[in-house]
């Protein structure tokens, strides 16, 4: 049995996620879309906190909400002219998007509802201690992630270089 406070927290988070997502993809001002995205990400982070993944929530806030959204905002400012709104959607396009999304929703929702027969409550779990996370990330044994970690770091490096190269102004 869940405590009422927990349910309220859940409801707030879920509503924020859903509403902000919808607004993020429907608003015509691009900067607002980025802002709604930010809220969604925060709500996601809150969800992680609620599920006792504090480290992950922190990372979510730091990288996603802090880093990526800022990147978005900067790029929006770089690429849009003042007062520029997204053009009105053609109805054909909207219909296309709606059918796609709704179909997905129906199929996935149906299978979710019909298949999720493991109605278990939230099992008792603890917030994984930081040392365990660190060891798992840095270890080389089975179930430890040094190699992916290194791969991601190389990827990030490549990404930095790629970003610089692509975005660099051409001399001519």
């Amino acid at each position: 049995m869940e405590s009422v406070g927990s349910i309220i927290v859940y409801v707030v988070i879920a509503l924020t996620i859903v509403i902000c997502s919808v607004f993020a993809v429907t608003t015509r001002k691009i900067l607002r879309a980025a802002t709604y995205l930010l809220f969604t990400l925060f709500a996601t982070a809150a969800l992680y906190f609620k599920l006792d993944y504090e480290f992950l929530g922190a990372v979510q806030i730091a990288v996603y909400a802090g880093g990526i959204v800022v990147l978005f905002v900067f790029s929006i400012l770089l690429t849009s002219h003042p007062g520029d709104n997204s053009a009105k959607l053609a109805s054909r396009k909207r219909a296309l998007g709606l059918t796609g999304a709704l179909l997905l929703l129906i199929v996935a929702g149906y299978s979710l509802v019909s298949r999720c027969n493991f109605w278990s409550a939230l099992p008792q779990g603890e917030n994984p201690p930081m040392s365990e996370i660190g060891e798992t990330l840095m270890g080389t044994a089975h179930g430890q992630y040094l190699l992916p970690f290194e791969a991601v770091s190389v990827l990030l490096l490549a990404c930095i270089i790629g970003g610089v190269v692509v975005a660099r102004k051409n001399k001519n």
Binding site: G97, L103, L104, V107, S114, R115
Partner: protein, 676 residues
């Protein structure tokens, strides 16, 4: 006999061909001519030695104690082994007919070589272009023809058969800038090729069922105690027949396999010997230089068909049907050609048709020959006629060449009354005419008489038929003779000098051949050449032939010939309206004869309209449009489909995503539905 001389007989002309062909254009014309003539002269001498040795040496290789002439294989080299037994060998078979043919071929060939030295240059002594090439081809022809007659097996014969065809092609087309010569050479080759197809299939049948190519295995048995010496023996041929009769599938479409084989082989002979209906190439072949006509298309190559039948004669004896076909084809051809010869204007054409007619005589003679009747008199008569005909027909052609050389035209309408200007030609031509007409004592009389006797012994109907042909022969030859040398006086064209006799190189062969034509009839052929080697007479002297005549037949044929000559004299000696009247009396017949019964038109129709128009063109069209079209069509369809689905690759990422999503949802839906 040592194989040295036979090898040289074959090798020398071949060497001459290679030398003249490869280096001829670097030689002077005269050198080339002398070289070629000398080469042929040596070959002739060697051939005479060989033939003389064969006939008269009395060596046990060539004649046994009973006086039966044997077949002797001088050498026989493996050339190509298909299987252990089916081996093509190149060899040298010496027997009566090959020895006879060796003499005939080398004699005529030498005469022609000699004659061409004069003929192949104009009145100012300027050599014909390609003179060396001409001699090279002549040598090639002589080589091939000699190889043909000495063949030890049927495939060797086929090989040289093809080679003579090719050299004939080259020589007919010697004046290759002349379109008519080119088409004539083409026609000759293709028509004979068609006939050779029959020959080839015949060989295949025969060799498949007998497992051998060798003539000696078809017709002869080996002589005990000697290697490579054989005697003609009917039991062998009977053995072949019985063997085939017991083999699988002995009957094919109603005829026995042996009949089919022999008829098909005879078809090859019909092509080469210009029997109806495969005769159409020979008159056109006169486009070649006249010495070539004399050598190839009168004396030697065209009798190859006769030689072929004679070579396989014991086998033919096994199949009455095949021999009857030979007879009928020969008789019809003889009559047809004689009819046509009466109307032709071109003197070489007259001679060509006369040749066809005379070869048909030989065929008939072979067709009626039976061992029961005078030891196969017909066979001997055919060979005899082959020999005498070669001599006098070569003579006639060489005379015609002399006339053409002097006048510059082939038509008798441009000649008339030449007897005073060209006396030597006149006399020799007359000798030739008398010989072919069958006037005693010229060569043709004896041989033709033997043929008629042989025919008489077999069938009265064909006897009357062939006598009529003999009469026609005398008539058209004398018609030709009078129209060339008499009719009206020759008018000398302005700016032309009067025609005159030719240089000695041309005269000498004429005279020699005329002399031979006078005396050749007295050669006691019955003792030299018979189908099984048995001599016909106990002993021989110069008058044997005369004594052996069957006067009941001879007097009739002589009378027919003389009457025909008289008619010709009346009609053509002086310019008179009789020929025109005759022509008007029978316009349809004359027209048909003049147009050679429209055979050429028929063939033109078949080749151009049917083969080219109805087979080749549609096939080519089919290939381009249906076969190729279907391949192109496949390519076209592929391309169309590619273009059609190219629109999906629009570059619009959102569309891609939608399609992808749709697919995912679809799969998900299917999974969801199927699992629950």
């Amino acid at each position: 006999m040592e194989p040295v001389i036979p090898i040289i007989i074959l090798a020398l002309p071949l060497a001459m061909f290679l030398v003249l062909g490869l280096f001829g254009h670097k030689m002077a014309h005269r050198t080339a001519g002398i070289l070629g003539t000398l080469g042929m002269g040596v070959t002739m001498v060697l051939a005479y030695i060989t033939a003389f040795t064969y006939f008269f040496s009395g060596s046990s290789e060539f004649i046994n104690e009973e006086g039966i002439r044997l077949q002797s294989v001088i050498f026989n080299w493996d050339w190509l082994a298909f299987t252990d037994s089916l081996v093509i060998r190149l060899g040298f078979l010496l027997d009566p007919i090959s020895a006879l043919l060796l003499v005939v071929i080398t004699t005529i060939s030498f005469m022609v070589h000699l004659y061409s030295n004069g003929y192949m240059r104009d009145h100012h002594g300027v050599w014909e272009t390609g003179f060396q090439r001409f001699y090279a081809f002549l040598s090639l022809f002589s080589f091939s023809m000699l190889g043909l007659v000495v063949a030890t097996n049927i495939f060797q014969m086929y090989i040289f058969w093809e080679l003579v065809g090719a050299s004939s092609y080259l020589l007919i087309g010697f004046y290759y800038t002349k379109p008519s010569a080119v088409s004539a050479s083409k026609k000759a080759f293709i028509v004979t090729r068609f006939a050779d197809l029959g020959f080839l299939i015949g060989i295949l049948i025969l060799s498949f069922y007998t497992g051998t190519f060798d003539f000696t295995n078809f017709t002869s048995v080996g002589v005990e105690g000697m290697t490579n010496v054989y005697q003609i023996d009917l039991t062998t041929s009977e053995g072949v027949r019985n063997w085939i009769a017991t083999s699988p599938a002995p009957v094919f479409m109603g005829g026995s396999v042996l009949t089919w084989a022999l008829v098909l082989i005879f078809m090859g002979g019909m092509g080469k010997s210009a029997m109806m209906p495969l005769h159409i190439w020979l008159p056109d072949a006169m486009e070649g230089p006249t010495p070539v006509s004399a050598l190839i298309h009168a004396a030697t190559m065209v009798v190859a068909g006769v030689f072929l039948v004679a070579r396989l004669f014991p086998l033919y004896l096994m199949e009455e049907v095949a021999l009857n076909i030979v007879t009928v084809v020969g008789a019809i051809t003889a009559f047809y050609a004689a009819m046509v010869a009466c109307t032709q204007v071109d003197i070489k054409r007259v001679l060509a048709f006369s040749t066809i007619s005379q070869i048909a005589f030989m065929m008939v003679s072979l067709g009626v020959a039976r061992p029961e009747f005078h030891h196969g008199l017909g066979y001997m008569a055919a060979m005899f006629h082959l020999f005498t005909h070669a001599m006098f027909k070569a003579l006639l052609f060489l005379c015609a060449g002399a006339l053409i050389h002097a006048i510059g035209s082939n038509d008798y309408t441009d000649m008339h009354g030449l007897r005073k200007y060209m006396p030597v030609t006149h006399i020799t031509f007359l000798v030739g005419c008398l010989a072919i007409a069958g006037i005693i004592p010229f060569a043709g009389f004896f041989s033709k008489d033997e043929i008629l006797t042989a025919v008489f012994g077999q069938s009265i109907f064909w006897y009357i038929w062939m006598s009529a042909v003999a009469g026609l022969t005398a008539f058209y030859m004398f018609r030709l003779y009078y129209l060339i040398f008499w009719w009206k006086e020759h008018k000398v064209h302005e700016g032309h000098h009067a025609p005159h006799d030719q240089p000695w190189t041309m005269t000498l062969p004429l005279v020699i051949l005329a002399l031979i034509s006078c005396v050749a009839g007295f050669v006691p052929m019955g003792n030299l050449v018979t189908w099984n080697g048995h001599p016909m007479f106990e002993s021989v002297n110069f008058f044997t032939n005369l004594g052996a005549l069957d006067w009941s037949v001879a007097s009739i044929s002589l009378a027919v010939a003389i009457i025909a000559i008289l008619i010709a004299t009346v009609m053509y000696k002086k310019e008179n309206p009789l020929p025109a009247k005759m022509k008007n009396a029978l316009p349809r017949l004359w027209d048909w004869c003049y147009h050679r019964f429209y055979w050429d038109e028929l063939y033109m129709f078949i080749t151009h309209k049917i083969i080219f128009g109805c087979i080749s063109k549609p096939i080519a069209w089919f290939d381009r449009h249906v076969i190729d079209g279907s391949m192109d069509g496949m390519a076209w369809v592929t391309q169309r489909i590619s273009y059609a689905i190219r629109g999906l690759q629009s570059g619009n990422i959102q569309l891609y995503v939608w399609i992808y999503l749709f697919g995912v949802v679809l799969l998900g839906a299917i999974t969801a539905i199927c699992l629950f």
